[in-house]
Symmetry: C2
Amino acid sequence: MQAFSDRLADAIRRCGNPVLVGLDPRFAQLPDPLRADVAAEDLAGQARAYQQFCHGVIDAVAEHVPAVKPQAAFFEELGPAGMEALGQVIKYAAERGLLVILDGKRNDIGSTATAYARGYLGSGGQSPWGADALTVNPYLGDDSLAPFVEVATERGAGLFVLTKTSNPGGGMFQDLEADAKPLYRHVAAQVEALAKETVGHCGYGAVGAVAGATYPEQLAELRAAMPHAWLLVPGFGAQGGAAADVAAAFDEQGYGAIVNNSRGIIFAHSREPYRDRFKADQWREAVAAATREMIAALREATPAGRLA
Amino acid sequence: MQAFSDRLADAIRRCGNPVLVGLDPRFAQLPDPLRADVAAEDLAGQARAYQQFCHGVIDAVAEHVPAVKPQAAFFEELGPAGMEALGQVIKYAAERGLLVILDGKRNDIGSTATAYARGYLGSGGQSPWGADALTVNPYLGDDSLAPFVEVATERGAGLFVLTKTSNPGGGMFQDLEADAKPLYRHVAAQVEALAKETVGHCGYGAVGAVAGATYPEQLAELRAAMPHAWLLVPGFGAQGGAAADVAAAFDEQGYGAIVNNSRGIIFAHSREPYRDRFKADQWREAVAAATREMIAALREATPAGRLA
């Protein structure tokens, strides 16, 4: 299979935007029609509602964006029934032509890391879960990342390593200064080394970094520190990041970054201006409208405008 | 429900040892009778074999040790069928009276961390997975740990935060020096603060730390730095740690630490002296014998001897 980095670049070129739609189903926030008749203790029923909801979101965005990012935690919260739904959602997104970046923030050591990598990485029947890429955590060091990189390169899959996260407390350890630079820059150096080793035709490698939109200055610093790494930028929308804040994550051609929005898109039915504009059963239309709004905002305020 | 820390102390007292049996099923290493007639591509069949194997191990150790530690990665590697088996294994271990520490090394931010916590933490029907405790990763900072601590204290569950891991590359980031101490000591300080806030009758809190047996000096340092934190010590056996190496993890009464052994116990059927002593269908007896051997070694060389 073609390298993940090149498949991502192709998908961004085809769509003309770098929007990543986060699939974060939360039962209390699902559109009313999907929650009707599902009891709070009915986990299998909730899992079916999650699947129906995510399939609806996928239908609404599949023609417009390059990729989706299911958040494993919300499916895991429902037990085995939730995991079954997660598998179906990944499969459906792939069938609709979307790249799937599973947000699982996994890691472990040695053969245990290999087990995670083999389980999650690889689309087209190469792995049981079938994700194109997975988010991973760097705390365990380089030998914990190596098995993921190995499996990813074998299967044309990708990785995004947590580097500078978008939450307020992210700095507690990530900003600690060692050898005259913060921990996140040490992680970035390792990510860049792995990205360079796995670089594709597009100039980016199989290994990228998660770098939050809520820290615009660090985003520019990290773009410069990791010239071969795709940046996955969370924190846009609900967490406060705006289009101008993410501009520095892109290269001059508008590549090099994908910008995630979860709640601002998938729960558009419950926020202004879409809440008034669409009826309860038109939540898919609200998702599509919010996606168009985000695409336009990124085109206006970032180098992603050069993609169109 | 009674606090996890006190339930763990009670279980250790009752068994007279601090052995934690790691449930790391790897298909190629299962006893021959369990692998017969299961094809490499038959994930559902492998998941059934994992469940049968883990139930057998649980039967062999339930009367002798306080707790088991299923490794989520090996179940996840098999897709949704594997997760179904994981749920059954946790349930069966709890029915047999064992505490279950799920090794998932999860973490995320905000409501996503809450979803992981709600999904995994809490036995006796309090959560769909039903684990008594979960391993978590500290890279995302204090606000990522807070939702886990909140759910854990509500439900009498526990956490073990990765602090100093047992792998050779663990030092790449964990040993970086910031403000005159390594990163793992910064993590340890946060763990101790959370442990102290949640301290039970036994003197230890709901939040503990993972600290590898492969670094005996750091184990002593971490025991002193976290007087209220249970230490989960991996790396014993296959990874090279010996009983004398883990002695420093205990307090003077023999509490304060649980020592994990996965491969050395569960795959005892394939190593000396058990390979020659037991037939292929006697793998449960090999598991029981290896468990007794480890209990004896810890009694001989560590303060755990005072428990008996």
